[in-house]
Amino acid sequence: MITAVVVYRHRSISSPKVSGGAIAITERAASRRRRVFVEHAQAYLFLIPAIAFLGLFKILPAFYAIYISLFRWDVVQGAFRGLDNYFDILWQNSTRAQAFWQSLSTTVTYALITVPIEIALALVVAYVLFQKLRGRDIYRTIYYLPYVTSTVAAATVFSAVFHPQFGLVNTLLGSIGIRGLTWYQEPDGVFQMLGNALGFAVPDWSAGPSLALVGVAIFSIWHFLGFQILIFLGGLGNIPFEYYEAAKLDGANQWQLFRRITLPLLSPQIFFVFTIASIGVLRAFNEIFVLTNGGPLDTTRTVTMLLFRTFFQQGQIGLGSAIGVLLTILILAFTLIQFGVFERRVTYT
């Protein structure tokens, strides 16, 4: 993690107080000024490449994104529209606004499935893995493997593993009597399907996330589990062992040790994983693109997917850019929360 702490260096200015004569002093001052100038110039020289590239591809485009979003811009730049693109997306009672709010709700649902399970599972695995066990390194190597694998390749594999006819998942489910799940092609809500299977009707508003979205969430959990484990293992390593010993002397049991020592002292890592996993969900694109391409019936069309479709497939660059700005604001909110909390943590200790 990068904390926003700027380290000030002392400027070791030796005061030319005593040594001989006014001329010597001015000469020395002049040479010092020259040295300072050279140092500054050199520093800027060192920074020019980074500033140039960051400026051209990060800073300027951030402003261009807002600029583009103020125009009707379908392939070519059209008329200035002010905030009308935003109005269309957010307020106008149009299909566009419906699409945006639906995609936002899909994204939130996706996050609600993915993030808690990711955290809970990683916490358990990290807690077990942290203890003295034979073969820890082998386990760890395996757990981190999905994280380094490219999303496109891994998602391609998942689409086969979850294949309705010959995928392993349906074969296993078939052996316990669950048949015919179509996973990444299934637009029906999981609660609705459960209700149908058990023989009662579930109202539309509680149909739940589509099975396809649940499938995408399973992929995300699989893909990022290793990362969360890694972060938690780091956090566990920072907890002083004496705390456990003292608690044990006081007669604490295993659950109390975990609940009263591990969990609170791991809260910075849990919070960090929560924010970064939420950001990850907001930004997720490749897995959705490969597994469902936003379908079936738009049930996996997250905000990022909507952005991609609007901008790239429909060529509506102005509207797409407005969605991009809104998405950026969402992501930045999580980033700022993360940074803010971390700074406070740092000053605590």
């Binding site: 990068i2 485009p61 070519v76 599972l121 044990k248 992501i331």
Partner: protein
Amino acid sequence: MNTPQVLPRVITRRPVRPRLPPVTSTVFKHLVLIVVGAVVAYPFYFMVTTALKDFFEATANPPTLFPTSLHFENYVEAWSRQPWARYFANTVFIAAATVGGEIVIAILAAYAFAQMNFRGKNVLFALFLATYMMPSEATLIPNFVMMSKAPPGVNPLFPIPRLNLYDTYAAQILPFLASAFSVFLLRQQFLAIPRELRDAAVIDGAGHLRFLWSIVLPLSVPALVTVAILSFYASWNSFLWPFIVTSSEAVRPVQVGLNAFRAEAGSQYHLLMAASSFVVAPIVLLYLIGQRFLVQGVARTGIRG
């Protein structure tokens, strides 16, 4: 400028790791870890074994756990269906250029922030921090517009500069040459270089470049390797950006190539898995070799890709 080896190694700090008290029996713990490990590893196993099955076995219901006969020719066929050699060459070139450029640029900037005094340092640092927080989604569309050619006959008051680099290597390299993240990581490392070393170097008459080259960099090898590996991963696995800024096979990287092959292969999963295997293989190999650096890098920085 002598005896840098007596210095403490600043980056590979291994915390003394006291164990947690045991929760339950060792058997149970292994059971948990093995079940999770099997679920995590199965897709890889599936990929490698399915790549060796023939078409009928690959689409058999129920799936076979082991291939009944090994069909290594699947790899040959998958390889021949797309210009993979070209894709790999493209990806290696793009990744190498990105990593090389990024590391040089980051070293210089990080050194300036860590070891030099200049006016506006804090402002500039804040600016770098801001770009670090800016997600790539924010710049996706404007960068795409900048890469493409200006359409004729449109003269807006404030035109966006056009680099006219659509479907080139440059479009896939230039936007990633400056990474605020790498600058931060290296700056942390360079800050840990003791002040006395700089003073000694100055007394010996060394300038900044010489100090950087002969003292700072040799002391920072682990951090540099970490930056290089993380940057290489990002470059190798990147998909969305190359997907939208390339159209021809001549500059297409492997991830976009795999996506193209996905559309072409349809339900020929044995070929798709063969192709996925060779797209994944180099990066998994790199992971197994450089695991220490990658794990450290991720643990220290919390980058999630």
